[in-house]
Structures are given as structure tokens and as C-alpha cells.
Amino acid sequence: MATQRTPLPYWLIAPILRGSGDVWIGIALWIAIGALVTAALMRARHRAAWRGALLGAVLGGVGGALLLAPLWFGLVSLLDKRCAHCGTQTRPDAATCPRCGHAFTESPRLDAFVAALVNLARVVMTIELALLAGGIILELSGKDALDTYRVLFEWGLGTPRARANSLLAATPIIFTGLGTAIAFRAGIFNVGVEGSLYMGALLAAWIGFTFTDLPALPLIALAFVAGALAGGLWGLVPGYLKARLRVDEVVTTIMLNYVAIEFTSYMVQSGPFFVPGMANAMSKTIAKQAQLPQLVERSQLNASFILALVTVVAIMILMSRTRLGFEARMVGDNPLFARWSGIMVGRTILLVMFVSGLLGGLAGAGQVLGVHYNFTARFSRGFGFDGITIALLGRNSPVGVLIGALLFGALRSGGTTIEVFTDVPIDLVDIVQALIIFFVAIDLNLDFLSRRRRAKTDRDAAPASAAA
């Protein structure tokens, strides 16, 4: 093969992949982590005696050796709490014992720590299970699954350039993931970020090749602002329909996606932005000074990635610390309550849809200014739809979206080269991605197990309250 493969210290990620480096160190490391965490959780959550903790350590160790350590974190953290007073088992999030009313004394800090751990385990578990299922599919179809994953990791993370390309692939989906997540958080199922992305990209490109006399900074700023506004206004259309006329947003946003895609294609294919003599359907190239600076040599990773990181922080602050964020969360949690409390639900929906579209517009502008340098018809490889997956994976939290987008970026970027080095078709990445969506959807992490258990504890608890 022409290109050099760069073996990774796989044992760091997953001992099962072997490769260079000392496999045993990796296995020992994971056994230690698995045992420690499982034992600690057994002790703290389950109030198990030391024997239980020891058992947890053994199980965690076995899990760790099999690369499923994070899976163990998740499972163990699901274990019921046990009331220290009367011994009743109850669900992990209960504050008081349903039988004797004994208040659990876990400190809020420990609770928060466990919650964070559970969330992290959830994301990792989901992806791990998807990779596992994908591996089984590969093995069944007679391919070398381990080698395929080695290639995937090498080209997603192996060299500085590969890592830069992963970040490049992550950039647009950080924006679209955030945009989708804040709409989801407000209870709006906005799947129209893709449409906003096209509108934003088109307008940013137009600014870029029209106002060529402007110096770099004002031009770039203007292009971003215009792109964001275009996306935001595009998001307002279904927002208005939902807020004022109660039209279901899923239908309108899906349809408006097509409108946006076809409209922008028309603009460059035969409309005002058509460039005679150009083979592909693309607009004029934007001014040299409008092209975003690149961050790494031999990669297209550009300044829009930094903007994406800034945006993550901004959205975090917006959602947790501002009035709009509070309103959005209340409307998402219980719209009826929001109405009764005097929160203007319609206005909140409009604003959230505007911000959601705004982020889609930024994604489009970033791609135009940093990667393509023009507007190409249908340039998006489903960035808007990846955003939906990531928002679900990250449970609508900005940090979760960032983590999800980085993982997806690596997957996408590593996946493109799979065909070169193995006889596995590139569709594998799509399969793994679909499996991730699948596992997110069944949400085996918390609800699946605890729902069954809740039904059981409720039955047990009822006679006690009847007697009271």
C-alpha cells in the first residue's frame, strides 16, 4: 500500500485491538479503573458491605479487561439505592425511602458526581455498543473487524493531520448539534437546522464575493452575521407557524429543508449567482481576505472551529444563566405550567427557533468561509441531520453536544479512508452511525432498566402508604 499506516497505542483506548505498545499495561489499567469505580459505586449507592464491594471490584475488573469498563460504570450506577433504615430498595434518584420515609443522606456533591459519571458512561456506552454491534456485523460478513477499527482510529486520531481533520469534520456539526439541542430542550422538535445551514451559507458566500473591497476582519464578521441572520430568519418561519398557528414543526421543518436546498441550488445553477463557464453548480469564489485562516498545515481546519468552541460556551451560558434559557427550559419541561406561570410560550418558541436557526446559519457560513470558499449546491453532507443525532446523544446539553460532535467527527474523518485500506465499504461508518442512533433511541442506559424496577418498587411501596 502506498500510504504508510501509523500504528496507535491501542491499548490506551481498547486493549482488545492490541497493536503496538504493551497490551498488558492497558489491560491492567482498565482492570484497575473498572474495579475501583465499580467497588466505590457499590459501596456508595448500594450501601453494600465490603463483600459486595469486592464482588463489584471483580466484576469491574472483568468488564475492564473486556474493554467494557465504561459499560460497567453505567450498569452499576443504575443499581438501586438501599434504605439504610429499613432495607427497602428504591430507585437511584429517590430522595426519601418510599416505605419508611427515611431521607437519604448522600451529599448533593456526591449525587452530582454520580450523575456526571452516569452521563459520561451513557455516551461512551452508546458508542461502544454501536461499535460492538458494527463489529459483529463486519465479522459476520467475513471482514476483519479489528483491523477495520484500527484503520478507523488511525485515520481519525493517528497523526496530527488526522486529528486536525477530525476537528474539521466536527466543526459544522458542533453548530448544528447545538442548534438542534436548544430547540429540543424547549420541547420543539426542530429538524430544520439543515435548511438554515443552506440559507446561511448562501448569504455568507454572497457577502464574501460582493463586498470584496472591505478589509478582512469586517468582511468576515459581516459574512458570519449575515449568514447567522439568514439562518435565524429561516428558522422563524416554522417557529411562527408553531407559535401562532399551532402547526406541527416536524412537518414544516422537513419540508422547508427541501425548499432551502432547492432554492439555494437554483440560485447557483441558473439564478442570479450563476457563473457562466463553471462546470459545477457553484457561485463565484469569495474574496481572498474573507477566507478564514487555517490552524494546522496541510489540513483545512480553520478558525471556524474556534468560533464553534466559543459558541459552545455561549450556548451553555445562554441556557443556564439567561432569562431566555430559563424560559426555554420551562417551556420544554412543562408548557402548561409555563403558561400558568405567565411565561410567554409563543414568544419563547419564536426566540428559540431564531437562535436554533442562527446556529445553523453559522454552520453554513463557517463551511463557506473556511472550507469551500464559495457556495456549492448541496454541499452539506447531512450536517443538519448529524446535529439531530448528536443532540440526542448529548442529551441536549452543550458539553454533551461537543463531546458527541468530536466523536462523530473522528468517526466521519476516519471513515472516509476505510475504503482505501480495507475492503470494507465506507457505508460502515453510516451503519455505525445508524447503530448509535438506534442505541440512543432505545435509551437502554437508564430508563430501560429503571422503569421496570420502578414498577416493582411502586408495588412494594404502596401497602406501606396505605397503612399510613
Partner: protein, 507 residues
């Protein structure tokens, strides 16, 4: 021997006992009313009979034979069938298709449409249920849809029909038609169980009535030998230690809330409020009595600003607020304890502190320039937890983990943190235990001393009599009586609530 006998039925739900050793008997050929407040356990009992819920204890006998009913199909096979409050029809199919759904007449592998239409037509003529078998259900009125539901039961040859609040969605004319059909059905030897909380209907159509309260049977009465007010008392009475009567703090010349000739429609566009007028003075608790479903819900929504009146005016502290939205009304000093605590009054997945500031986050000190001030919010929440004795670990706990009494304390802490000008308290003690009820009562009385005008809407007559300075009675969307506390008795209230104002006048 009784046709149907349910013995010792007990059903637990998380934290509540829906049915507690309920004994229930129905004779063949009668219309038996099952009455009680919302949440008394009527629907649960019927769902157990219909196989939708499994009882935790108890037995069911049909013609003296023990039967086990594990699902609705089994119930239908036994001749027990149910019309649900929310119809279960396929709007895009025709009447005949809906009626025969799942039991279509067949010719070979195909549905025999001709026979289907013919059978449904014959059935509808036989029982006077006028519907066109070929019409699409989506084009029918609510009353006609209900006739389709009843046809469906008759097509499956139901012997025992359960009707879950069948009149709740009907116009008075349609109710009369329904009664006509029911009479015809029992004349034919069928039996009906009629779930309702409207006493007029019990008196008009039923032979016997069983009253449930808090999951227990209070008694079964023969309707012809009973006065409606007796049933009303059985429904709402509660053995509770009520706060002692206190001297009035009312300032008669200072009305803080004036409702003037308010007309409003319900969600179906039918008139729900027909010219309501009253005023609540500073330092006064005005109690609103009435059987549920007589316009109380619409009145609350109108006062809060979630339903706008077609006619009439609302005045709060001398300011007309008829067209103002909820938020503006709250800024002018309105506070509300909503009927439905878990949906209207609280956001269960959200944190305690978020619930507490939901009505006042807009301005200082909780937010400045659109940015929340977490320190102020936490301090406010901690103070509220202390002042209102909410048993909780901290302000960041999700409200869904709290018990009913604690959750209501959160609502009250939010609404009463600053003494409001006017408080609308709707069913403030529903589902609460004795201690929590006492707490709520004391809070209301404390507020009265601070010259708040309180409108107390309650299904609990004892609560109304104990707390109110003045009692208003609502019946079919109009105020039919106003009694001073000294004149108010359970009997007179019962008569007024049953719509018999003439007999309630002092002799």
C-alpha cells in the same frame, strides 16, 4: 342474586390507594350511578371491571359465578363493554366500519360491506340511535360520535354497558337523547353503569347510586328515596378537624376583585359561564361551591388570563384587567393556586428553585439585563424552604421527588412569597393529608389577615364552610346563590348546588 358483584376490590397506585376494599353490586336491568369527586376511584373501579387494570385484591362475580377479567377482550366476551370518556373511534372510517371494527362480517376472506351497513342500520333503528352508517366519523358531531360508540357496544351484544362520564361532552339536548336511548336499553333487559358527578343526571335517569369517596364506598342509595343534597354530602363530606371560626377581617367597602357579568365559552365553544358577577373584598375569603363541571374550571382560567371572556369585565384593585395577559395580572398582584397541581402548578422535572421563581424571574433581583442571578435565586429558594417548611434536601432537587403535601407547599411558597392582592385558591387541599391540609388552611387565614382578597374554590363543603366569610354557589355556569357564613348550612348549599334554588330560600 345480583347480576354483577365486585367484592373487596383494592387497588394501589404509587402513593395512593385508588380503591380500598370496594364492594359494588349491580342488579340486572338497572341504571346504576357511580358518583364521586374527581379522584374518588370511580374510573379505576370500572377499569378493573373492564380488564384494563388489575386489582391488587378482590373478586368479581357475574351471576354469582366468579370471573377473572384480564383484558378488555375477556370483558367483551362476558358481555361487559365500556364507552370511554374520550371516544375510541377512527375518524377517517365510516360509522359502519367503526361499529364493526374487529368483528366485521365476512364473505370468504373479504369484508362483506353490504351486510355490515345493513346490520348497523338495523341496530340503529332498533334502539333509536340515529346515525347514517355510511357517514365518516370525522364529519359527525360529538353527540353522534357517542351514538356510534354505543352502537359499537350493542353490535358486540354488550349486556352490561359502562358509560364513563357520557354527558361531559354533550349539549343538554344531546344529553336528553342519550337518556332516551339508555331507557330503551334497560327496558330491553340490559344493564348500565353510569359514571358521573352531575347530580341532576343521577336523579333523572338512574335507579340506584353508589357513592365513592377517597377510594371507599360511602354507601349505595335508591335514587327515588333520596334527595340530591344527601348524595352531594356523601360525595364531598370529609372528616377533618377544621380551623376554628374567626372574627372577620373583611373591609366591606374595599373590593379588590370585581367580576362583572362575565360570559365565556368552554373548549368546545359551548357557553360555560353565563353572566357571572361577584366581588371579593379585602381581608375576605369568598368560597365558591358547586358540583364539579359547572363552570369552575372556566372561571379560574378566565380570572388567571388563560381564557378570555366573550363579555363582561374583570377589575383588580380598581384596574381593569379583562384583556391583560397572565403575566401582567400577576404583576398587578394576582396569585393562583391552580386546580391541577402536578401539571398547572408545578413543573415536575424542573428544580425546586426554578419552580419557585417561575412567576417572578423576569425582573430584579432574580434577573438583570436578561441574565439570571443564581445567588439571589438560591437565597430566595432557601428562605422559602425554611419559611414554608418544605421537607427537601436542597433547592436543586427536582420537584417530582417530593410528596403531595410538600409539592403543594412549593406552589404556596411561590404564590404567597409576597402577599398578593387577590388569591385564587382552587382545590388547595385536594389529595393532601391532614397535616398538610391544616398548613394550607392556616396560610389562607394568615393571608386574610393581611387584607388579601381570596377566592376559594373547593369540592370540599366542610372546607368551604370552615374558611369562607361568604359563600357563592355556581350551577351550570351561573351564580345561583350567595350566602353569608351565618346563613350557610350543608343542607342549603346542597340544594343550591343541585340547582334547586327555590327550595333553598329561607322559609
Amino acid at each position: 342474586m345480583a347480576y354483577l358483584k365486585m367484592a373487596g376490590i383494592t387497588k394501589y397506585f404509587p402513593g395512593v390507594v385508588a380503591n380500598s376494599s370496594v364492594d359494588f353490586e349491580v342488579e340486572e336491568g338497572e341504571i346504576h350511578a357511580l358518583v364521586g369527586e374527581n379522584g374518588a376511584g370511580k374510573s379505576t373501579l370500572m377499569k378493573i371491571l373492564y380488564g384494563m387494570e388489575k386489582s391488587d385484591a378482590g373478586e368479581i362475580f357475574l351471576h354469582g359465578q366468579p370471573v377473572t377479567i384480564t383484558n378488555p377482550q375477556a370483558a367483551i366476551k362476558l358481555g361487559i363493554d365500556m364507552v370511554h370518556q374520550h371516544f375510541e373511534l377512527v375518524p377517517s372510517l365510516t360509522v359502519a366500519e367503526n361499529v364493526t371494527l374487529g368483528y366485521e362480517p365476512r364473505r370468504g376472506p373479504f369484508v362483506d360491506r353490504q351486510t355490515m351497513v345493513e346490520r348497523v342500520r338495523r341496530l340503529s333503528e332498533q334502539f333509536g340511535l340515529q346515525v347514517d352508517p355510511g357517514a365518516r366519523v370525522s364529519s359527525l358531531s360529538v353527540g353522534a360520535q357517542q351514538r356510534v360508540e354505543i352502537l359499537k357496544l350493542l353490535y358486540r351484544d354488550a349486556r352490561l354497558l359502562i358509560l364513563d362520564e357520557p354527558s361531559a361532552v354533550l349539549t343538554p339536548q344531546e344529553v336528553d337523547d342519550l337518556f332516551e336511548v339508555l331507557r330503551r336499553l334497560v327496558a330491553e333487559g340490559r344493564t348500565a353503569i353510569f359514571i358521573t358527578h352531575k347530580l341532576r343526571e343521577v336523579m333523572a335517569i338512574c335507579h340506584r347510586a353508589t357513592v365513592l369517596r377517597a377510594g371507599r364506598v360511602i354507601g349505595t342509595v335508591r335514587v327515588t328515596e333520596t334527595q340530591p343534597e344527601t348524595i352531594a354530602q356523601m360525595m364531598v363530606g370529609r372528616d377533618l378537624e377544621m380551623p376554628r371560626r374567626q372574627t372577620s377581617h373583611a373591609t366591606p367597602d374595599r373590593p379588590r376583585l370585581i367580576v362583572c357579568d362575565v360570559h365565556a365559552a368552554d373548549d368546545r365553544g359551548l357557553p360555560a359561564l353565563r353572566g357571572i358577577s361577584f366581588a371579593v373584598n379585602a381581608g375576605e375569603i369568598a368560597g365558591l361551591a358547586g358540583v364539579e363541571g359547572n363552570g369552575q374550571t372556566e372561571l379560574i382560567q378566565t380570572l388567571v388570563g388563560l381564557r378570555f371572556p366573550e363579555r363582561g369585565d374583570l377589575v383588580l384593585d380598581g384596574r381593569t384587567i379583562t384583556r391583560e395577559r397572565n403575566r401582567t395580572r400577576r404583576e398587578h398582584g394576582l396569585a393562583v393556586i391552580p386546580e391541577d397541581r402536578n401539571h398547572q402548578g408545578l413543573s415536575l422535572p424542573s428544580a425546586l428553585s426554578e419552580n419557585l421563581i417561575a412567576t417572578r424571574y423576569q425582573g430584579a433581583p432574580f434577573s438583570r439585563w436578561g441574565v439570571l442571578v443564581p445567588g439571589e435565586i438560591r437565597r430566595f429558594a432557601q428562605r422559602a424552604i425554611r419559611d414554608f417548611d418544605v421537607r427537601v434536601r436542597g433547592p436543586n432537587v427536582a420537584v417530582k421527588t417530593l410528596s403531595g403535601g410538600n409539592a403543594q407547599k412549593v406552589v404556596i411558597a411561590r404564590e404567597l412569597a409576597q402577599p398578593p392582592a387577590v388569591l385564587i385558591a382552587a382545590q388547595p387541599t385536594r389529595g393532601l393529608d391532614v397535616g398538610a391540609t391544616q398548613f394550607v388552611h392556616n396560610e389562607l387565614l394568615r393571608l386574610r389577615e393581611q387584607q388579601t382578597a381570596i377566592l376559594l374554590i373547593s369540592a370540599d363543603l366542610d372546607e368551604l364552610l370552615a374558611l369562607s366569610d361568604r359563600l357563592l354557589v355556581i350551577f351550570e355556569g351561573a351564580l345561583v346563590g350567595e350566602l353569608d357564613r351565618s346563613q350557610a348550612t350543608r343542607e342549603r348549599l346542597g340544594l343550591l348546588m343541585a340547582g334547586r334554588a327555590g327550595e333553598a330560600a329561607p322559609a
